[in-house]
């Protein structure tokens, strides 16, 4: 029976294959983070970092699709959604969605924990973070993210270490 394959999740079937190729062609397609997105409920992107090369137009599509996927999910649902050939692990904080796109076999819970860690760091750094902080300190948010993730790999899992580094970087500016 070649006309149907066992276990094709339905979200995946909606996607034409050539579009998902972008995400597959990365040098190490196995475990790394593909992108991290911060979006508000209206779908405005507040932070987007891609660890695989994507065309500008493709990025837009990705952001749009991810927002569509996560925004209407019930709080009682799982925090994982299949996205093209990958999965998005997201978490909602007030009106902000933090989404990480990783490989289908990667550890979901670990990324949930790291999203939470990232939010804690932001919260500590901006003392009680809100969406506006992220809007006006866009470059600092990227700096924090760069300390946190490098080349699609989680670099630092210590909140204290990152916060210390950030205060040193602040001094340099």
């Amino acid at each position: 029976m070649s006309w149907l394959t066992w276990r094709v999740p339905f979200q995946r079937r909606l996607v034409s294959s050539d579009r998902s190729r972008f995400l597959l062609n990365s040098p190490f397609p196995e475990k790394m983070i593909r992108f991290i997105l911060l979006q508000n409920r209206q779908g405005k992107t507040r932070l987007a970092k891609y660890y695989v090369p994507l065309e500008e137009s493709e990025k837009h599509k990705v952001e749009y699709e991810v927002h569509r996927l996560v925004v209407n999910r019930d709080a009682k649902f799982t925090n994982f959604v299949e996205f093209r050939t990958h999965k998005v692990i997201y978490r909602r904080y007030a009106g902000l969605f933090f989404s990480v796109c990783v490989d289908i076999t990667d550890n979901e819970l670990a990324y949930l924990e790291s999203i939470h860690l990232f939010v804690e760091i932001l919260d500590h750094f901006f003392s009680n973070v809100c969406e506006l902080d992220l809007v006006f300190n866009f470059h600092k948010v990227y700096l924090i993210l760069d300390e946190f993730i490098l080349a699609g790999e989680l670099q630092e899992t210590s909140k204290r270490a990152i916060i210390e580094r950030m205060s040193e970087l602040e001094k340099l500016e």
């Binding site: 029976m1 070649s2 006309w3 149907l4 066992w6 276990r7 999740p9 339905f10 040098p27 190490f28 196995e30 475990k31 790394m32 405005k44 992107t45 507040r46 932070l47 987007a48 660890y51 090369p53 500008e56 990025k59 837009h60 019930d74 009682k76 649902f77 799982t78 925090n79 994982f80 959604v81 299949e82 550890n107 979901e108 819970l109 670990a110 949930l112 924990e113 809007v135 006006f136 866009f138 470059h139 990227y142 700096l143 760069d146 490098l150 080349a151 790999e153 989680l154 670099q155 630092e156 899992t157 210590s158 270490a161 580094r165 040193e168 970087l169 340099l172 500016e173």
Partner: protein, 859 residues
């Protein structure tokens, strides 16, 4: 003037904050404001003042990141800003580069020197910026040119820098595999670091590398094992577990070794993410380790009953991994799985569905299908079709292996068709026909179900169910002999509402009507014959059941009904429908006349029944499934040019050929592609019989039409006639394997002998040899894994292969270099040691020492 302008720009430049505020103030769309700001940025970025330039670049980065503005035009300016001595400017520049550069960016080569300078900087923050940039934009050239800098940083005394350098190694290895020779030793040394941050980074790198090519990293198992036992860092442990999951898949002895420490971690009260990773490692790679598996399944149960949907989902997911090998784990948790079907989250439902389908066997298939059909009725379209699709797939797998009672299965198919959200018409229709062909005993029920489907008014309106109707129409015509009421079938096929159907399906309806008509006439005539001359041998006596006994009255009312139903179609616009309707009408016109004559004068009966016998012959040959490989077994006759003449044909009428080519699921013989033949055309044109009748009824007249137009692309009629004969009569030509060859294993003796109702024979073809893909062996030849194998194992084999490859593909310079390296490594032959330092220095030694070392470690 120009200079005062530029002064003005830099004095009154908007900062990033001004820009953001400005955008936020725009009430009615921000596009005009953004394009105005872009103009400003374009002016500012051209100024010589670096701080003005960098602010402009920062604003541009902001607009590019969050408003999707193109910033590729500013690539050169980003390079300028990076060269600034101010850290703030440099940061903005590097950020812009990481954000907007790709492998094709032309100015990329200009940053090599800047990166080198910053990588060598004494300021660790500048080093870190450069490393981050390299990790994002590193090309082949950059990786090659900066390998030595990265190597130096791998040994940096500052943990912070070293950590980042480790992260960058991944990109460098990927782009420039030869860097392995330089950097690998230091990378491995970092595995022994006591610093958790460094360990985390380096384990992350190895996790990536191992996923790609596990075999090369087997020698490092002792180091990973040490980390697995000693480390208490969740993230490090998760990554190490991933490494072991890969390694254990190629070295089974490792599984035994690591099972204990993994169980230790599971028993410890660890975080959920680590616990889940342990579970996943056990169920996917160590499922032969009994204690570990039992412990893991116990933990899975905790997940399943947890209120957290994430844990529930992951529990189900873990079960689905373990299901193929250890079904007991799923059966133990069956209730939780069934309960999860009604979960709110579609992910959970889907996972539960997959698990249930994994549980299906011939004993519980009807029970599980019952449960699932109920869920399908209740749930939304998406999940409903997922359920239907899963049931269809599970039941049809391996020629309906798990289906014992086909009457039940056919009624299930009928039930599915009536589920309101059902969109799986294609598959259901396919299976109806497939079962009709494969399972003789199921045909009476198939005809009954088909008629019920045909007269169901709900199905006609749903477009995605039309394939079911098409299949039902075909089956009721093809197997009309099993029906007790052929009149009712004809009535169902001719109901006025069929006008809702697309022409291609109506054509099938009409053709099926024709089959019903011919069958009825035959039954009528043979009954007449047997009464008038009882000595005449009856060929179809077995099929004329008493219910189908036709009187003159009933047969003429059938003919009249058909005429009435079809006469309106003879003027329809669609050629296919029109032609078929006309054919049938022509036949009825002729036969009606004969029947009428017959009543008055018995003498002409021979003539009438002969015409009907012709048609009966056409349809009486049974259609059988044909192996997809049948064509290959048929030797090509001399002088038959397949490719040359028909290549163009493919282009021109690809649409017509495609359905035949694609139906490699044994529906129709692929050999018929060549012989859609003259004989076939005569059938539909002049009602002439032909010995070969095993043709798909559809498309024949389309092909006839096509043949008229593109005659030059067809084979000469003489040839295809010959060919056709050999196809139809297996006896005349011995080389051709019987199309409906039944393989020995279809009468599987192990199948339930004590069943109250024996499972009917399912015709199964030699599917073993079709569609098997050979695993691609080329992946091993990746330059990176080659380099690493050389660096780590130094096996002669690998080296030879490397040399071969070099000789084949690389230029002489590099060849020389690599052979020199070989010589160097061969010279050294130090003492055995488990330390990597010596291992790397003396490759030759490692060849001998390495395999032994793994064994020691394992025992």
């Amino acid at each position: 003037m120009a200079s005062s302008n530029s002064l003005m720009y830099s004095l009154f430049q908007r900062s990033l904050e001004d820009l953001i505020k400005g955008i936020r103030l725009q009430l009615h769309g921000d596009s005009s404001f953004i394009s105005k700001s872009l103009d400003e940025i374009r002016r500012e970025i051209k100024l010589t003042d670096l701080s003005t330039k960098s602010i402009a670049l920062q604003k541009l980065s902001y607009l590019a990141a969050l408003h999707g503005v193109d910033m590729s035009w500013a690539a050169f300016h980003a390079v300028e800003v990076v060269s600034s001595s101010r850290f703030g400017d440099k940061r903005i520049g590097y950020h812009a580069i990481a954000q907007s550069f790709n492998d094709q960016t032309p100015v990329l080569l200009l940053i090599t020197n800047q990166l080198r300078k910053d990588l060598n900087s004494s300021n660790e923050y500048e080093v870190s910026l450069a490393l981050e940039c390299l990790s994002r934009v590193g090309t082949d050239d950059l990786a090659r040119d900066l390998t030595s800098e990265v190597f130096t940083l791998l040994g940096s005394s500052k943990a912070f820098v070293r950590k980042k350098a480790i992260g960058v190694v991944l990109r460098v290895f990927d782009k420039y595999p030869d860097a392995v020779k330089v950097c690998f030793k230091r990378l491995v040394e970092n595995l022994e670091s006591s610093d958790q941050h460094i360990l985390s980074a380096v384990v992350g790198v190895f996790c990536e590398l191992t996923t790609k090519d596990p075999r090369s990293y087997l020698p490092l198992a002792p180091e990973f094992y040490k980390i697995l036992v000693d480390s208490r860092n969740t993230w490090v442990l998760i990554k190490v577990l991933k490494v072991f999951a890969k390694l254990a898949s190629i070295e089974p002895r490792l599984a035994k070794k690591v099972a204990d420490p993994i169980c230790e971690h599971m028993r410890r009260n660890v975080g959920k993410s680590l616990l889940f990773e342990c579970i996943r490692t056990v169920v996917s790679g160590l499922s032969d380790q009994e204690t570990a598996l039992k412990l893991a399944v116990a933990k899975i149960r905790d997940f399943l009953v947890d209120d957290d949907p994430n844990l529930k989902y992951l529990g189900l997911h873990a079960l689905s991994i373990v299901a193929p090998k250890h079904l007991w784990a799923v059966l133990e948790n069956k209730e939780a799985v069934v309960k999860a079907l009604s979960d709110e989250d579609p992910n959970v439902k889907l996972e539960a569905l997959h698990l249930l389908m994994a549980m299906v066997n011939e004993d519980n298939v009807s029970e599980i299908s019952r449960i699932l059909m109920n869920y399908a009725l209740k749930s939304g379209p998406l999940f409903c079709n997922e359920v239907i699709g899963s049931v269809l797939l599970a039941c049809s797998r391996n020629s309906y292996e798990i289906v014992v009672d086909f009457d039940w299965y056919l009624s299930l198919l009928g039930e599915m068709a009536r589920i309101p959200h059902c969109q799986r018409g294609q598959e259901i229709g396919h299976q109806l026909i497939d079962i009709g062909m494969r399972v003789k005993d199921a045909r009476p029920e198939l005809v009954r179900i088909s008629r019920a489907l045909l007269i169901d008014p709900a199905l006609l309106g749903n477009q995605s169910l039309h394939p079911i109707l098409s299949a039902a129409a075909w089956a009721s015509g093809e197997y009309v002999e099993f029906s007790k009421t052929s009149y009712d079938i004809a009535e169902a096929l001719l109901q006025p509402r069929t006008s809702l159907l697309p022409p291609s399906i109506r054509a099938i309806y009409i053709h099926s009507t024709f089959k019903v008509l011919v069958f009825s006439l035959k039954a009528y005539f043979s009954a007449q014959e047997s009464t008038s001359s009882p000595l005449v041998e009856e060929s179809t006596s077995s099929v004329s059941s008493p219910e189908n006994a036709f009187t003159y009255k009933s047969i003429s009312s059938l003919v009249n009904m058909i005429e009435l139903g079809l006469c309106s179609l003879s003027g329809t616009l669609d050629v296919e429908v029109q032609e078929r309707a006309k054919n049938v009408l022509g036949f009825t016109g002729m036969i009606k006349h004969k029947i009428a004559e017959e009543v008055t004068a018995q003498g002409s009966e021979i003539e009438a029944s002969r015409a009907v016998a012709f048609m009966e012959d056409v349809f009486s040959e049974e259609l059988c499934p044909v192996s997809a490989t049948a064509q290959e077994k048929f030797p090509l006759p001399d002088g038959l040019e397949l490719k040359e003449n028909l290549e163009d044909l493919q282009e021109i009428c690809g649409e017509f050929l495609k359905p035949v080519v694609e139906s490699n699921s044994n529906l129709f013989s692929s050999s018929e592609k060549i012989s859609f033949s003259v004989a076939r055309l005569r059938i539909s044109d002049q009602q002439e019989a032909s010995s070969s009748s095993s043709h798909p009824p559809e498309s024949a007249s389309l092909l006839a039409e096509h043949r008229k137009r593109h005659g030059m692309y067809y084979l000469s009629s003489q040839k295809s006639d010959d060919h056709n004969d050999s196809n139809g009569n297996n006896n005349t030509l011995n080389e051709y394997p019987p199309a409906n060859e039944i393989s020995a294993d279809s009468f599987n003796p192990k199948k339930k002998m004590n069943q109250s109702k024996p499972r009917p024979v399912v015709v199964k073809l030699d599917e073993g040899d079709d569609f098997k893909m050979k695993p691609d062996a080329s992946s091993n030849d990746e330059p990176l894994s080659r380099a690493i194998q050389t660096a780590l194992m130094g096996k002669g084999k690998e080296k030879e292969r490397e040399k071969d490859n070099h000789e084949r593909s690389l230029d002489p310079g590099i060849k020389e270099q690599s052979s020199r390296k070989e010589k160097k490594t061969k010279k050294k032959n130090g003492e055995k040691s488990s330390k990597h330092r010596s291992r790397r220095r003396s490759d030759k030694d490692a060849i001998a020492a390495k395999p032994v070392e793994i064994v020691d470690f394992l025992l």
